[in-house]
Symmetry: none
Subunit: 225 residues, 2 copies
Amino acid sequence: MKDITILIVDDESRMRKLIKDFLMQKGYSILEAANGEEALKVFEENQNKINLILLDVMMPKLDGWSVLRQIRQSSKVPIIMLTARGEEQDELFGFELGVDEYISKPFSPKILVARVDAILKRTIGDKREMKDYGGIVIDPEGRTVKVDGKQIEMSLREYELLKYLVDNENIALSRDKILNNVWNYDYYGDSRTIDSHIKKIRHKLGKKGKYIETMRGVGYKFEVK
Amino acid sequence: MKDITILIVDDESRMRKLIKDFLMQKGYSILEAANGEEALKVFEENQNKINLILLDVMMPKLDGWSVLRQIRQSSKVPIIMLTARGEEQDELFGFELGVDEYISKPFSPKILVARVDAILKRTIGDKREMKDYGGIVIDPEGRTVKVDGKQIEMSLREYELLKYLVDNENIALSRDKILNNVWNYDYYGDSRTIDSHIKKIRHKLGKKGKYIETMRGVGYKFEVK
DNA sequence: CAAAATTATTAAAAATTTATTAAAAATTCA
DNA sequence: TGAATTTTTAATAAATTTTTAATAATTTTG
């Protein structure tokens, strides 16, 4: 699961900070808004990367319900409402508008994190980050490589070497650098071993093997041509 | 829908009746208890079929907190606490003890029903959900594994290891990660022990054993092929 | 252009990693 | 406690990967 962003909307900065700290600790990226208007602005600007919204009900300028309604016109992003006690009568109303969950203040951080996790799990599942380098698709989580949609088998060193090359796309890498990064720092072997692997990788990549360019006297470079 | 049973614990019979009427109307089965002691007795006798408890805090003989504590020693059944206004300061304390939700009196029946529905949805609703991984069906509640409809016996470690693998479907898991997650963090043993278990699991899965892929130099990966 | 330097290719040796098997140790359960 | 089961260890076999070494091909340089 990679880079999940949560928007926290609350007028109390102390509350925002509290929630932010806990969620960041769990590895989530955070965006903040201090009122309804700001929330809509931030949401609009980052719509594509926001995975969940924590939305306070009681806020100046534009309250949570209004924000909720606006957002629901264009998005199904999961929303958790933060309600102060005594606002319960509105809850039913909220469910109809597509609120996914309520958390009433004061709440324990544990509860908050648990609910956030639960909702994200059932909405995003796993959003994996696969990169496409001109038809070479690498899935780092699954450690797989596909060329034109067909998976190819790669050994550990082959995979790591290819990964290192594509991670440094368009950058010429010296043999030394490659050895230090793909092999252990204390590797003493022949630097010819790189060639062997490059050979095999190129072969497995087929036509796209030419993306690995030989930099004579230096090393290699990955470049989509 | 399966027969869902809710235990209502409150010393006021009028209150019990009110809640009961609404919930029965929604199709739930109801059990009642008029005080803490009775609640524990009823719970013990019907533990297996009770899906949720509505628990009043203020009661003679044995108050709600004590009942909560007792029940939490043996069960994770969802519990909603009914608090009178002014008891809010105890809530944080309650969440730590495993309270799922609070509703403060007086409340609207609609709210009550909405919360009950919401909690049941996320507890029974998705928990009973068995997952099917290409013919391997896992029921986390029953801790059972079926392959092509036939149940297979699995030891603790085998089950946990398989569960960890399928929970991380399509993700390559290093031996370290596996050890840290399936075994204790302080496990010092040989990492070869993983192989032994993998061997056994694969054997038990029969043809589908090949879903557990060896990631040479890394670890293993579960992938339905 | 020829020699030198560098990389590609090939095949085989060496090293590493995993699978398998069986037995020992630990744990559970009646 | 003792039997049964589970888990771990250990040893060996098997499979795969990595490295090495030797030769060929290519590029650079004087």
